[in-house]
Point group: C2
C-alpha cells in the first residue's frame, strides 16, 4: 500500500484507526478454543467486524512467536485472510526488528517477501539503535514502509529516548533528524507513543509530513483528543492504534460486536477531527 | 546455563568461542538440498564437528524467520539437537527483541519457555532503546540471560550509539551505566562489536565483571587479538562470535571439516590468551 492509497482509505473510511492484533490464547473468549486455530478464528472475527472502520491492522509478533510454530502459522493465515481487504487496509508487522545490514535484509525478506516464506506485510516496525545500515534494507522494497521507533509509549522510554545529547536535542529528536534522510514520507513513518502526546508538537517541527503510528491510547493511558490535536497534519499523518481496548472489549461470544462498538467510538472521534482539519 | 557452568565450560574447552548459526539455504553446500530439512542438516553437521571447541551457539533469528514456518521448525529442531551438549554450551537466540513490558513478557516466553511453544534458549539478545520495562521481563527467568546491545559491530553504530550526551558520556556508555542496575553479571551480558575493540577499555571501566558477547571478527573486520587483549577479565568475561568465517569456511561436502579447522584456529588463539590471563 502506498501513501496515496493510505490517504484515500483514511478519507473514505473517515478514520485513522489501526487495530492491534495482540491476540493471546489465554485471553480470547473460551468458546473459540473449539476451533482448529482459536487465535486465527479470533482475528478473523475481529477483522470482519471492524474492517470498514480501520485503515490498518497490526499484529504484534511477540504474541505469535510465543505460540511456537503454530503461532507463526496463525500469523500467515491472518495475513492471508486480510488479503481481501488489502486495497483499504495497511498490514503492519509490529516486530521491532533491526540488525546489521546482511541480517536486516533477511528480516526484510521475512516480512516483505511473498508467501510461502515471506509474510507480505506492508510495513514493519524497526528499532533505531543500530543505525542506518540496520534500517535501509527495509526501505528498498517498493510500496513497503519502515515504521521507526522514535518515542515509545512505555515508562522505559525515559531511560534513553529522552536523554539530552551534547547539542541540546533529545535522543528521540536525533533519531528523527538523522533517519529522515534515509527515507521519505512515502516509505518512512515513526512510532510516537500517545502517552507522550505533549511531545507531538516537537515531533511535527522535525517531520511535518511523516505519518506517525501512535500506540498507547486506552490501556496504556494515552489521550486520543490530545493526539489528534497535536499530531494531525493536512493529510492526517496519523495511524492511531488501539489493541487491548478493542480486541478484549468483550470476553464472551459477543466479543466481535463489542470490539466493533469500541472501534466505532474511536472512529467517530477521528472523523470529527479529520473534518475539523480539512482532511475530509 | 548459569555463570559458574559457563566459566567451567570455558576452562574445560580452553575456549570462549561462540559459533553463529546464520544458516542461509542459498549458501549451504548444494548436496544438502537432498535432505528433508537442509538447514537443519547443515546446523547438525556444523555442531557435531565443533561442539568441543565452542562454548556457545548463536542462531540469528532473521535467517530462520525468512524461511517462514519451516524456518521456525528448523530452529526448534536445532535447539532440540543441541540439548545433548547442553551442559557445556550456551544457546543464544540472536533476536534483538524489545517491546513494552506486557509484550516483552511474550517474547521472553517465546525464547525462554519450554517446548513445544517455547524455544528454551539460555540467552537472548535484546535492544535497549525502549528502556527498563522492555528488558526486565527477560531477566525474571532463573539461569537465563539477557545480552543487551551496547556497541554493535556495524557502520550504523556511529549514528546513535556514539552520540555524546549532555554529561559527556556516549549513548552506549549510558546504556551500560543505566542497565547494569537492572540485572547482575549473573544474568546480564552486553554486545560489544569487535570492530570497536578500542572501546573495550572504556566498557571494562563501567562493567568490569560482565560477560561481553563480541560479534564482528572475521567477515566484519574485527581483530581477535585486540579483543582478547582489551576485553578479557579474570574469569574470561568474553564470548567471541564467528558466524560466516566458520560456517561457510568450506562450500562443499567437506564443509564441516573446514568449519572445524577455522574454529580450531580461533580456539588456539583463545587458549593462549586464557592461559596468559590466568583463566586456565
Amino acid at each position: 500500500m502506498n501513501r496515496k492509497q493510505l490517504i484515500e482509505s483514511i478519507q473514505r473510511k473517515r478514520s485513522c484507526l489501526c487495530i492491534g492484533l495482540d491476540s493471546d490464547p489465554a485471553k480470547i473468549p473460551p468458546h473459540l478454543h473449539g476451533f482448529p486455530d482459536p487465535v486465527f478464528e479470533f482475528n478473523k472475527q475481529i477483522i470482519e467486524a471492524t474492517h470498514d472502520l480501520a485503515v490498518a491492522y497490526k499484529p504484534n509478533l511477540a504474541f505469535y512467536e510465543s505460540n511456537g510454530t503454530k503461532g507463526w502459522e496463525t500469523l500467515h493465515k491472518t495475513v492471508g485472510f486480510l488479503k481481501k481487504y488489502r486495497d483499504s487496509v495497511m498490514l503492519i508487522a509490529d516486530a521491532k526488528r533491526g540488525d546489521i545490514g546482511n541480517t536486516s535484509r533477511k528480516y526484510a525478506a521475512a516480512f516483505f517477501g511473498l508467501p510461502p516464506d515471506g509474510l507480505d506485510f506492508d510495513a514493519v516496525t524497526v528499532a533505531p539503535y543500530m543505525g542506518r545500515d540496520s534500517v535501509e534494507p527495509f526501505l528498498s522494497f517498493e510500496n513497503k514502509w519502515v515504521i521507526l521507533l522514535a518515542l515509545t509509549s512505555n515508562a522505559g522510554a525515559g531511560d534513553f529516548q529522552l536523554l539530552e545529547t551534547a547539542n541540546g536535542k533529545m535522543i528521540f529528536e536525533k533519531v528523527l533528524e538523522t533517519s529522515k534522510t534515509w527515507g521519505t514520507p512515502d516509505n518512512l513513518m515513526y512510532v510516537i507513543g500517545a502517552t507522550k502526546a505533549a511531545m507531538l508538537t516537537r515531533v511535527r517541527t522535525i517531520v511535518p509530513d511523516a505519518f506517525l503510528l501512535i500506540p498507547g491510547i486506552g490501556a496504556q493511558g494515552g489521550d486520543l483528543d490530545e493526539v489528534l490535536h497535536h499530531g494531525m497534519n493536512r493529510e492526517c499523518g496519523l495511524l492511531i492504534n488501539s489493541s487491548r481496548g478493542i480486541i478484549y472489549a468483550g470476553s464472551d461470544e459477543d466479543f466481535a460486536v463489542e470490539a466493533r462498538r469500541q472501534a466505532l467510538m474511536l472512529q467517530q472521534k477521528m472523523e470529527k477531527s479529520l473534518a475539523e482539519n480539512g482532511v475530509i
